[in-house]
């Protein structure tokens, strides 16, 4: 590329006035749509994933399925009759030797936090009624490194001393209780204990707000009759999307059932993938529209400037120079359009954050256009502009100079 080619390309664009404005506007609008839409979808997906993984561990180690949970085969035909059979009712599977498991999980380089938990079904007594709950025995120090329940506390603190409990606000409303009030939990074998409410949280999910009741790990183990055992070991990893790899690795090392948040939320991930695919599809179609717009305006420019192109050829400009003058114009339209488009897209995203809010006036999900999106949009738009200019550039370079000069 020679400086004269850039000079001529920029001057041709500058001289194009309304035509140039038109293609710049088209490219700007296209990039703005792509930046806004991509930011919106990324924001939505990140918010969804954060909401889900905020309440779930990234990796969970559970007791191995015992014989009761194996498939059942017909004695006559040998065909599988049931995919799996459920364990004996009333019995909670547990990990007896959980300390070595915690140690093994904690040693994985990807794991940043690990905690044992004792979860099981129970009820809270309200007058004559029994309200179903999930008793969640946790170690508040390590557990809060994995599930950010502390950030979701509306009142009180994550403290379990002297038979303390932390419950969801919907359960508290249902029971008409508040901090300091005492409530009685009952488990299947009728072991009942009275706890004092030390904290009330809003997990952002109704099921959790209505049923989760945190107690100390010791109380959980005791109420659920687990002895020293736990129902699972939970962990959080450095990169959320590596969780399935970590789970696979730990499956081998711990010889327990290890699953990742991705295993548990396969439907959601499938939906997110579909959403991402449709975003890409929209970006592709917008790019095609922008490319067609740029190409058509450049074709008109070639026709309008055929005399000048002929004269440039007569002056000694090779075909390559003519071709590059138009390619530079296409790429410039794409690049400049993408810069303005990124700014416009960011403006739209910020506007969305400002104007689209829920009933409480809170941002539904924050959209933060990232520099990566800008860089990708710039590359995509510049490439689109360049490709769009190929046909007009070839057409310009192939003009017969004598014919172009005579018939213009």
């Amino acid at each position: 590329m020679k400086p004269i080619e850039f000079f001529l390309a920029f001057r041709f664009l500058k001289e194009g006035h309304s035509q140039t404005l038109l293609i710049f506007s088209g490219a700007t609008a296209g990039v703005a749509v792509i930046v806004f839409l991509t930011s919106l979808i990324v924001g939505l997906q990140e918010s969804l994933v954060e909401q889900i993984t905020g309440l779930q561990p990234d990796v969970i180690v559970e007791p191995e399925d015992d014989g009761d949970t194996q498939p059942l085969y017909s004695a006559q035909s040998g065909e599988q009759v049931f995919r799996r059979t459920e364990p004996r009712p009333g019995r909670i599977d547990e990990i007896d030797q959980w300390r070595p498991v915690v140690e093994t999980v904690g040693e994985d380089p990807e794991v940043v936090a690990v905690t044992p938990v004792a979860f099981g079904p129970g009820s809270v007594v309200r007058g004559q009624m029994l309200q179903p709950i999930e008793v969640r025995g946790v170690d508040p120090v390590t557990y809060t490194e994995i599930v950010d329940i502390e950030d979701r506390l509306l009142r009180g603190e994550m403290r379990f001393d002297d038979l303390g409990t932390v419950i969801g606000y919907e359960l508290a409303e249902e029971l008409d209780v508040d901090l300091g009030d005492r409530i009685r939990f009952v488990v299947a074998d009728a072991d009942s204990r009275t706890f004092t409410i030390r904290g009330i949280f809003d997990a952002g999910a109704s099921a959790a707000n209505q049923t989760w009741a945190y107690v100390s790990l010791r109380e959980g183990q005791s109420m659920l009759d687990l002895g020293d055992g736990v129902t699972a070991v939970q962990a959080t990893v450095i990169d959320l999307f590596d969780a399935d790899d970590v789970a696979e690795r730990l499956q081998v090392m711990t010889e327990h059932d290890v699953s990742s948040w991705q295993d548990v939320n396969q439907d959601l991930l499938r939906a997110l993938r579909t959403q991402s695919a449709s975003t890409i599809l929209i970006a592709v179609f917008v790019s095609i529209s922008v490319a067609l717009g740029i190409a058509s305006v450049l074709v008109v420019t070639v026709v309008q400037r055929r005399g000048q192109i002929g004269v440039l050829r007569a002056m000694g400009a090779p075909m390559g120079t003519i071709q590059r003058i138009f390619l530079i114009q296409g790429a410039t339209v794409g690049l400049v359009g993408s810069i303005f488009g990124s700014l416009l897209g960011t403006g739209l995203a910020l506007g969305f954050n400002d104007f689209v809010r829920d009933e409480q006036g809170e941002v539904i999900f924050p959209i933060e256009p990232s520099p990566t999106i800008f860089v990708l949009a710039c590359l995509l738009a510049t490439l689109t502009g360049l490709l769009a200019a190929v046909a007009p550039a070839r057409r310009a370079a192939k003009l017969d100079p004598a014919d172009a000069i005579t018939h213009s």
Binding site: K2, P3, I4, E5, F7, R11, F12, K14, E15, G307, Q308, G310, V311, L312, R313, A314, M315, G316, A317, P318, M319, G320, T321, D400, P401, A402, I405, T406, S408
Partner: protein, 234 residues
């Protein structure tokens, strides 16, 4: 003995495949360095076709175009373009300046295209040329805002930028009023005398053509007259 700038050897140019039109029918011509030549002929006689072939803007159906001793028939597009840019200058009836560019930029353009960029020496030469055509005070003006005569003078200055051996001028005064046309003709003649640049001027105005050193008449694709101009000044 030096080579002629251009030598046309049995040049023929046909158009069409089913119905063949013979536009040039065996042209033989030599243009020497420093000549000031006019080419006249009725409309459709093949003047522009001959000029395009001489300017390497078109290729003959048969025959040879030799420029400064170099046969151009086997040269590729790139070599032809370079040879054209460095040896020949063009002036067209409709000036074909780059509108939106200043007079100075237009004059510098052939050199910038050749070297890939603008340089200060190019600017100096372009200013000298604009001064020669008495347009230095308009150097920064957009050529769109110049009169027809001024535009044609800018086109002449542009044709001289690469110090060509020959300027091919196709009806350079065809679009100008008589007074301006005379001025442009005088200008080309003066440059020819001062710099030794050869000119081949296509015109349909016989009186003006007779003022050139050499007078060539083309009729029906053939040179029918090649003599000294009747009113040529010495």
């Amino acid at each position: 003995m030096t080579n002629p700038i251009i030598e046309l050897d049995e040049i023929r140019r046909n158009y069409g495949e089913v119905v063949v039109t013979h536009v040039l029918k065996g042209i033989n011509l030599r243009i020497e360095h420093g000549e000031f030549t006019s080419l006249v002929g009725p409309s459709g006689s093949g003047k522009s076709t001959m000029l395009n072939i001489m300017g390497l803007l078109d290729r003959p159906t048969s025959g040879r175009v030799i420029i400064n001793g170099c046969a151009t028939g086997d040269l590729d597009d790139h070599a032809i373009t370079r040879l054209r840019g460095r040896t020949l200058g063009f002036v067209f009836q409709f000036h074909h300046l780059l509108t939106g560019f200043s007079a100075l930029e237009n004059v510098m353009m052939p050199a910038a295209v050749d070297r890939g960029t603008f340089t200060s020496s190019m600017r100096e030469r372009a200013e000298r040329l604009l001064s020669d055509v008495e347009l230095l005070e308009h150097e920064e003006k957009n050529v769109r805002h110049l009169s027809g005569g001024q535009q044609q003078r800018v086109a002449i200055a542009r044709a001289l930028t690469n110090e060509p051996d020959l300027v091919l001028a196709d009806e350079p005064t065809g679009n100008l009023d008589t007074k301006t046309a005379d001025r442009v003709m005088d200008l080309m003649r003066r440059i020819n005398k001062e710099t030794g640049t050869a000119f081949l001027i296509v015109t349909h105005e016989e009186a003006r053509a007779e003022r050139c050193e050499r007078f060539i008449r083309l009729v029906d694709g053939q040179i029918v007259e090649d003599r000294a101009g009747a009113d040529a000044d010495s």
